[in-house]
């Protein structure tokens, strides 16, 4: 009797222990999930970096475009103050690219942490510093001697002696990979939250810059096309013609135009101007929604981090998640057939 009571007691204790373990967040973090999260984050971050780089390059093209449109459209050239403001905007974009570059380094390390073996010496050994080209500005300012702004601090010398002593133990020694991943994920999520807050604040400014750069290109393009007849609308009309086996013939157009009455020429010009406006509107809409999409993707990444940290066991619900939409679409096709 007392033996049975003892066994019951032990079972009760074991159950309580298990419940305590599970309740205290001891679910295992899946390293493969961490690798997948990291690769998704790298795709998003690198793509956002490219967008910001394109915006920055677009500002140099804007300055060039204004140099062209000045004499062509009787406009004043860009003032020195404006060139300084554009340089300042480019510098801000560079800083954001640098920040996102650091985020990609973090995710690279996160993936390494997930894949490193039990016997690996560890990836955070402080011996090899990170080399990031964005840390070393190379492009010249648009105008010299702008009012000084705080210069970006040069990066630490990557060849400097390591901070950690040779005999210092790895900070991850004795810590399970699962716990290391959870801790790293939490830290990255905190960084991500700050990046998201920063981008939420600055996204309207990036959108404004993109809008101004595109509007300027549109103004110049319309002037060259309609006022000076110096560019061909061939590429603009290509999507309308190519699938039908037709091609814009610039030479023929120029020859015919000479004999056209003014009303006919005006009609063609108005049509081309409308097409340029439409194309520019489409581009503007795409640019604006792309920026919002990046923000949504970063927020989704933060949620994925939370899921990873909670540690989801592989069960039938997770298996069903990717399978169910396929099954549903098969059923949808079947129901269409039956109609």
């Amino acid at each position: 009797m007392s033996g049975r009571r003892g066994m019951w007691g032990a079972a009760l204790l074991l159950s309580a222990g298990l419940a305590l373990l599970l309740g205290s967040g001891c679910a295992v973090v899946n390293p493969q999930s961490a690798v997948r999260l990291s690769s998704q984050a790298l795709l998003t971050t690198r793509s956002l970096i490219q967008t910001l780089e394109d915006t920055r390059t677009g500002l140099s093209i804007y300055v060039e475009g204004k140099a062209l449109s000045g004499p062509l459209l009787n406009q004043e050239p860009l003032s020195r103050e404006t060139l300084c403001s554009i340089t300042s905007a480019q510098r801000s974009l560079r800083l954001r690219v640098q920040l996102l570059g650091k985020l990609t380094v973090l995710y690279d390390h996160f993936a390494d942490l997930a894949t490193q073996g039990r016997d690996d010496p560890g990836i955070f050994d402080s011996v090899i510093g990170e080399l990031d080209p964005a840390d070393y500005p190379a492009d010249p300012p648009l105008v010299a001697d702008c009012p000084s702004e705080a210069e970006v601090a040069p990066p630490p010398d990557p060849a400097a002696p390591p901070v950690a002593a040779k005999t210092a133990p790895s900070p991850w020694l004795g810590v399970s990979r699962s716990r290391s991943l959870r801790f790293a994920s939490m830290r990255i999520r905190q960084v991500l939250a700050r990046v998201i807050a920063l981008l939420e604040k600055e996204l309207p400014i990036y959108a404004s810059l993109q809008r101004e750069a595109l509007r300027s290109r549109k103004g110049l393009a319309k002037a060259l096309l309609l006022k000076f007849g110096a560019v061909s609308p061939g590429d603009l009309l290509a999507p309308q013609l190519q699938d039908l086996g037709l091609r814009w013939d610039e030479l023929q157009f120029q020859r015919q135009q000479q004999d056209w009455p003014p009303a006919k020429r005006a009609a063609v010009q108005a049509a081309l101007a409308a097409a340029v406006e439409r194309r520019a509107d489409l581009l503007l809409g795409t640019q604006s929604s792309t920026l919002s999409q990046y923000l949504s993707l970063l927020r989704a990444l933060a949620r994925l981090h939370l899921s990873l940290e909670v540690g989801q066991p592989l069960d039938w619900r997770q298996l069903a998640a990717p399978v169910l939409p396929v099954v549903r679409s098969i059923n949808l096709r079947d129901s269409c057939k039956n109609q």
Binding site: N74, T82, S88, S208, L209, R215
Partner: protein, 114 residues
């Protein structure tokens, strides 16, 4: 948390500049005197400079004076849009746009947080 006023201020300043920039060529053709043409060029440059200044600084101040200027600029933008849709007098446009540029420049100067 208070709403960041920078995007709204920047949009208003940009809008004023765009009204002139998008229609600059047509408006320039409608000028009948050298003075009018020079005024239009100067106003265009001033509106563009003001927009770029608004991009480069931090527009944070939302004191009643700044909010009133912002409100006046929004109204001026609306008036400009209506005027340009049915433009008959270039002098009226130049006068209204001069007012809009003054408001935009004041907004950027007063809302800037050093």
């Amino acid at each position: 948390m208070p709403v960041d006023p920078h995007p709204a201020y920047l949009a208003a300043v940009q809008h004023a500049y765009e009204v002139l920039d998008d229609n600059f060529d047509d408006l320039y053709q409608q000028c009948t005197t050298t003075d009018q043409r020079q005024s239009l060029r100067s106003l265009h440059a001033a509106a563009r400079d003001t927009y770029w200044r608004a991009v480069a600084v931090d527009l944070k101040d939302s004191s009643p004076v700044v909010r009133e200027i912002f409100s006046e600029l929004t109204q001026a933008n609306q008036d400009l849009r209506e005027l340009i849709a049915n433009l008959q007098n270039i002098s009226a446009f130049i006068a209204l746009f001069t007012q809009a540029v003054r408001l935009a420049a004041s907004l950027v100067t007063l809302a800037t947080v050093a």
